[in-house]
């Protein structure tokens, strides 16, 4: 039974008008910072992935507003702020500015994510901070982009920045700027992005100081009330979830070409208005760059819960109070200091999938069946022109949600873990020696269900340079997106390489090092498709017929997986459908999923052994 919220939480309440106005003002300041960075940053990852965040803090370093950019950053600021105050505390002066990226010593995310923090003073008093964090294009390390999968320790991943003063009482610290420039393959981009970060913090610091001045002595109490308000909202919604433990297990196929399966076990305990995420049983850290330092694991707890509770909870620290985390030290979701972690994004997406799977049964109608599982990252690079200029592009392929209790899944949409975008094909082709041959939905993909999963996204590239190299980080070929409530799992991800001479091969889901390519090579990727929700044999035949009319499914899929027989005019044949569905309902469990997979593989012309190791 849902518990009533704790009485002390509902009791105090200051003026609801001032509170709403202050909340609006703070949120609009954080959004204003976010907009400055989005529009003026140079990093393609800011542009396409909104992989950056902005935030405002009170005098004690508590988060009071965060720009709505990237859920994977929800937990990023509080730990860094704690370390900042521990390290510099009373010595923080007007005109100071701090820089940091260390995920272990300083509570950061991974090395490419550089934080800039500016204290805000009003009439000589520190009244708060503005801060921004941007995923920078390159900060050194084994490979361009600073996210080499084959790094085995953090020291191979680039420049590790402890908490340092980038500005001291208004004076820039030239040594730190020089150090940054010297350690990046793309110093122009890094400096441009850093300028955007500093400018966002400074622009909003002035407005923030004015806001504090306007509220005068009442400001700290108002901020306390804002935290309490957010806490009240989130506790009320947690209390609506029945008490108990929700468990789920999900997987990553493995690290690189031959890594062992990585298991994610989560137990989410709800007691009254408190919630705990426990990752006991999750696999150990690995000798590769996909370990996920605890700050990101915190982010995912916040992101999973906020997604399940829906929009409307303000982004201030108060909402975090009833949320707790346990992650065994040395596991892939809480690696020890020194573990390589630059490519931990894939772990973050899988944690989100695992949490949704756990929430599903107890929170019907609130979370979808499994989606594609986060973006596949494909990087092409090489040198071109008489001066052999380095070119590089990282492309993300994603866009399928699983079915929901009340709606089908979606195709052509960002993951709920990060509000990602795709790159315009025409801009890519105008700049790079490659061509995109097709981009769209893969027919007969996704998982069947009363509410079907979103179809898989497919993209094919043709290399137009004499030589190039490619890295690929994908997943979900053997361990498919998880279905809910009797639906079928999503479809597997597939990557093929067709050489100019016609030879064709199936590529492993991840390659640890670069793969050489030549002119005319054709790389085709189909990401995983969203899983289904509910028994496919209960999907209205007319809905199946509509998908066939749109060419999303063919008549064979309708018959094999849904038991829907279509007449010559494309309309369902009710009698034949009833009979076939009766037959299919007697199949062994798992048989329908196998037939679904076989039909999908036949559609794309791949063999049935695709889930096996190449």
């Amino acid at each position: 039974m849902p518990l009533a919220p704790r009485p002390e939480i509902t009791a105090t309440r200051s003026d609801p008008v001032t509170l709403e106005i202050l909340k609006n003002a703070l949120e609009s300041l954080a959004d204003e910072m976010a907009l400055i960075i989005l529009r003026s940053a140079y990093s393609p990852i800011v542009r396409d992935s909104m992989d950056y965040s902005t935030a405002i803090f009170d005098a004690e370093g508590r988060l009071v507003a965060q720009g709505l950019t990237n859920p994977i950053h929800l937990g990023s600021f509080p730990r860094v702020m704690t370390r900042l105050l521990e390290t510099f505390g009373a010595t923080i002066a007007e005109g100071d500015g701090f820089l940091v990226n260390d995920p272990y010593a300083a509570g950061g995310m991974h090395l490419p994510d550089i934080f800039f923090i500016r204290p805000v003073f009003q009439a000589g008093q520190r009244v708060g901070f503005t801060a921004s964090l941007v995923h920078h294009t390159d900060i050194g390390g084994l490979a361009p982009g600073s996210m080499a999968l084959n790094a085995e320790e953090i020291h191979q991943e680039g420049l590790r920045i402890p908490l340092v003063r980038l500005f001291e009482a208004g004076r820039p610290n030239a040594a730190v700027f020089d150090m940054l420039r010297a350690n990046s393959r793309m110093p122009g981009e890094v400096m441009g992005d850093l300028r955007a970060q500093i400018s966002a913090c400074d622009t909003v610091a002035r407005s923030f100081a004015a806001l504090v001045a306007k509220h005068g002595a009442a400001f700290p109490a108002l901020i306390d009330e804002l935290h309490d308000y957010a806490e009240r909202l989130v506790r009320q919604r947690i209390a609506e979830i029945p008490d108990g433990v929700m468990r789920a297990v999900d997987y990553i196929d493995g690290l690189g070409e031959s890594g062992a399966r990585i298991d994610f076990h989560v137990a989410i305990t709800v007691k009254g208005s408190e919630i705990t995420f426990d990752w006991e049983g999750t696999s150990d850290q690995v000798a590769g760059a996909i370990n996920c330092p605890i700050t990101t694991t915190w982010s995912l707890a916040y992101a999973a819960l906020r997604n399940a509770l829906g929009p409307g909870i303000p982004n201030c620290e108060g909402y975090m109070r009833p949320i707790h985390l346990r992650a065994p030290e040395g596991s892939i979701v809480n690696p020890r200091d020194g573990a390589a972690c630059a490519a931990r994004g894939v772990i973050a997406y899988r944690m989100l999938d695992t949490c949704f799977a756990a929430f599903g049964p107890l929170m019907p109608g609130l979370v979808p069946a499994g989606g594609e599982g986060g973006p596949t990252a494909i990087t092409f690079s090489g040198r071109q022109g008489p001066r052999q200029v380095q070119w590089l592009v990282t492309d993300g392929i994603l866009g399928s949600w699983g079915g929901r209790r009340d709606h089908d899944g979606v195709e052509g949409i960002s993951s709920p873990g990060a509000n990602l975008s795709n790159q315009p094909i025409e801009l890519m082709e105008a700049r790079l020696p490659l061509r995109v041959e097709s981009y769209g939905f893969a027919p007969n993909s996704g998982g069947a269900g009363r509410r079907r999963g979103g179809l898989a996204m497919q993209r094919t590239y043709v290399i137009e340079a004499e030589t190039a190299s490619m890295t690929l980080r994908s997943d979900r070929r053997r361990n498919l997106p998880l279905a809910m409530d009797g639906g079928l799992p999503g479809s597997p991800s597939v990557t093929t390489l067709q050489h100019a001479d016609g030879r064709c091969s199936l590529l492993p889901t991840m390659n640890m090092g670069p793969r050489p390519l030549q002119r005319g090579d054709r790389v085709m990727h189909i990401a995983a498709g969203g899983a289904g929700y509910g028994d496919p044999l209960t999907r209205p035949p007319e809905a199946v017929a509509e998908d066939c009319r749109d060419g999303l499914l063919d008549a064979g899929h309708a018959r094999t997986v849904y038991g829907v027989v279509l007449a010559a005019d494309g309309a369902p044949d009710p009698l034949a459908t009833d009979a076939l569905r009766r037959d299919l309902s007697r199949l062994e469990p798992g048989e329908l999923a196998m037939r679904q997979q076989a039909h999908f593989l036949e559609t794309i012309g791949a063999g049935p052994g695709i889930g096996d190791r190449p």
Partner: protein, 696 residues
């Protein structure tokens, strides 16, 4: 000499505003009920009423300018044409995939908008251009014959053509257009991307032309029927439509590019403010237009409204600065940059689960409307709060046309807000008013501070039915010193129509670093654009010597995702490329607070705007002032600054002709009510604007 008139007509959901301006400088206006079954009827009713009022013959009307919501409504209501898309093989899903982003985080039950051309009606044809305009795969003309047959069989009403890299070489698109036009005949509306938006970025270009096709038959039908109806009543003058950019184009051109008139109505109000501002000496303006369901803000700098090409139709509220879009269909054409907030007079007020007071975004609409309308509405609204506070006349609005029941307003606010929150009625109403103002403030900030502009450098122009009611409160929040309430604030947008100037524009994608360009190459590109724009203006009946051209460049640092638009000197000197670079660095520093002279700048698009300079006198003239109120009337009005009710004079605009009056004041007019709180004072300027400034 016979007097001639120009006629403006602005159609809203409830009312159609019609304005008549004579070359004798008289202005006449009226409000008639809109006629949703056939909106043209409302225009005719209004026109006939005004003509009979001034005793003029329809033949004396020399020009008709019209703002219409027909395009927006067609998308919002899903009532456009059954639309097909013909596109490059391998890419039929591009228009449905869009840019992946969702407009709001944490909404796992989000449903994407239904594509305007369903997948089953998206046809792929073998052909392929490369980015440099060379042909990789020739157009398979035979496939188009099959596609044409399928389009006919499917009962398609409109077809959009969009091929990859067509901005670089439109040959395939043009050929496919010709073949399909021949095969499909005149009854199927046909449009191609390079005629609508010849710019790089395949999704945005394709989406824009699909929207164009979807709107085409509906808008064309509407404009033809309007023209016929007007002509049959003797109103045979040329008919122009206001575009989203604020410029006008002939009805015939609008029928070909209906995607250009989506935000016709909001643009008219901004154009009116710019024009009045120029005449009255306010060059720097933020407009604030608040109606029943939304509030809109836009910025005018140096007399020119700021424009944008980032727009989505069908996405509901358009907050221009919104971080993330994706809720609608991209239309990458010039729009006056209007930022919208879902709060207006009808916005419903409630307490949320955490105990905070919220205003909107749900609206009580016009039926049942605010509780005080006494039409069965039980939810308190912003209007109810304004009635409780004494800002609005407690008995009626619109000079008696709408009766109000103040007791209903009090009951609703007491039951839903004041009681549960433990507030007095005045505290609750005052809170609603303050929150509404704070919400509006976000729209104003979105067009100013978010773009690096300080609102204190601008005058706030308040209009729309509710704008003047809350404008001073908004100004106070942003420390803005001056609020201007123009004459006839409720029909101000319709007045703006008479100031709209014929405008046609074309864009060309360059997408090269400035360092790789020569002034000659730039000139060559501009010459091609000029030819096209001049042809469009000539089609509008503009003589060559009346054509005026403005050039704009979309620039960014290499690597950035967003461009900034800067004007280019009309004559190209040798140093133009350096000047462009310098102008961009400056604009970047102004907008984002940082810039780097060392970084490479690239030119993405060149745009040429053609204006018609001989469209007669478009200068703003003040309408005649009404009559002063008979005797001084007072009302007990609540002001938060005083924490109490005070007897407040209720005046008409004409009462201010005697000189400056200190607040608190209420100025009641037929179409709007202006609140001047204590600490502010009001006076009239030479254009009968109410100018409200802080008391010294």
């Amino acid at each position: 000499m016979t007097i001639t008139y120009r006629l403006g007509a602005d159609i809203g959901g409830t009312f159609t505003d019609v304005v008549l301006r004579g070359n004798d400088e008289t202005i006449h206006q009226c409000k008639v009920s809109s006629t949703p079954a056939d909106y043209s009827l409302g225009i005719l009713n209004g026109a006939q009423e005004l003509l009979s009022r001034v005793g003029a013959d329809p033949a004396q009307v020399s020009e008709i300018i019209h703002a219409t919501t027909v395009a927006t409504n067609t998308v919002l209501e899903g009532k456009g044409a059954k639309t097909a898309l013909v596109t490059t093989r391998g890419f039929r899903d591009v228009v449905e995939i869009g840019r992946l982003r969702v407009p709001q985080l944490y909404d796992l039950n989000y449903v994407k908008p239904v594509p305007l051309a369903l997948r089953r009606h998206r046809y792929e044809v073998s052909e392929r251009m490369l980015a440099d305009g060379s042909v990789l795969v020739p157009l398979a003309e035979a496939e188009l014959t099959t596609i044409a047959a399928e389009i006919r069989a499917a009962g398609i009403e409109a077809v959009a053509i969009s091929f990859l890299h067509s901005y670089a070489n439109p040959d395939h698109e043009a050929r496919a257009f010709a073949l399909l036009a021949e095969a499909l005949g005149p009854d199927i509306y046909l449009t191609r991307s390079t005629e609508v938006l010849p710019e790089i970025r395949e999704y945005e270009r394709t989406s824009t032309v699909v929207v164009n096709a979807y709107l085409g038959p509906v808008v064309k039908r509407y404009l033809l029927s309007l023209e016929r109806r007007l002509a049959s009543a003797g109103l045979a003058a040329p008919l122009s439509i206001v575009q989203s950019s604020g410029g006008a184009m002939s009805a015939r051109a609008a029928a070909e590019i209906p995607a250009a008139i989506i935000e016709s109505g909001p643009a008219a109000g901004v154009i009116a403010a710019a024009n009045l501002g120029r005449a009255a000496g306010y060059g720097e303006i933020i407009t604030f237009d608040m109606g029943g369901t939304t509030a809109k803000a836009a910025m005018i700098e140096g007399g020119e409204p700021t424009r944008t090409t980032e727009y989505e139709v069908g996405a509901g509220i358009n907050l221009s600065s919104k971080l993330v879009k994706g809720g609608g269909h991209s239309v990458k054409m010039p729009f006056i940059d209007v930022s919208e907030i879902g709060a207006g007079g009808g916005s419903i007020v409630r307490l949320d689960a955490g105990g905070a007071l919220r205003v909107g975004p749900d609206s009580a609409g016009s039926s049942p409307g605010p509780a005080c309308y006494d039409l069965g509405g039980e939810d308190p609204t912003f209007t109810d709060a304004a009635v409780v506070l004494g800002y609005l006349n407690p008995e009626h609005l619109a000079g008696g046309a709408v009766a109000l029941n103040a007791a209903k307003a009090r009951d609703a606010l007491q039951a839903r807000v004041a009681g549960p929150a433990g507030l007095t009625l005045d505290q609750a109403a005052s809170g609603v008013y303050a929150i509404a103002a704070a919400t509006m403030m976000r729209a104003v900030k979105a067009v100013s501070t978010y773009r690096g502009r300080d609102p204190r450098d601008f005058a706030l122009f308040a209009f729309g039915g509710n704008g003047p009611l809350v404008a001073v409160q908004v100004a106070e929040l942003l420390d803005m010193g001056r609020v201007v309430v123009p004459p006839s604030p409720g029909v101000f947008s319709a007045l703006g129509l008479l100031h709209s100037q014929t405008r046609r524009e074309l864009t060309r994608t360059v997408y090269r670093p400035l360092a790789a360009l020569t002034p000659e190459a730039l000139q060559h590109g501009l010459d091609a654009l000029r030819e096209g724009v001049a042809r469009a203006l000539a089609d509008e009946g503009c003589a060559p010597d009346a054509m005026r051209f403005q050039i704009e460049a979309d620039l960014r640092y290499v690597g950035q995702a967003y461009e900034l638009t800067v004007p280019v000197a009309a004559e190209l000197p040798e140093g133009i490329l350096d000047a462009l670079g310098a102008a961009f660095h400056g604009e970047h520093a102004r907008t984002y607070g940082h810039a780097s002279d060392e970084d490479a700048v690239e030119l993405v698009n060149l745009r040429l705007i053609g204006l018609r300079a001989d469209s007669g006198d478009r200068t703003f003239r003040a309408p005649p002032l009404g009559t002063p109120a008979r005797g001084t009337h007072h009302r007990k009005v609540h002001f938060a600054a005083l924490g109490a009710r005070v007897a407040t004079p209720v005046l008409t605009r004409a009462d201010l002709a005697g000189g400056r009056r200190a607040g608190p004041l209420i100025v009641e007019e037929y179409d709007s009510t202006t609140v001047v709180p204590p600490g502010w004072g009001a006076e009239l300027d030479a254009f009968t604007n109410i100018v409200i400034t802080k008391e010294a």
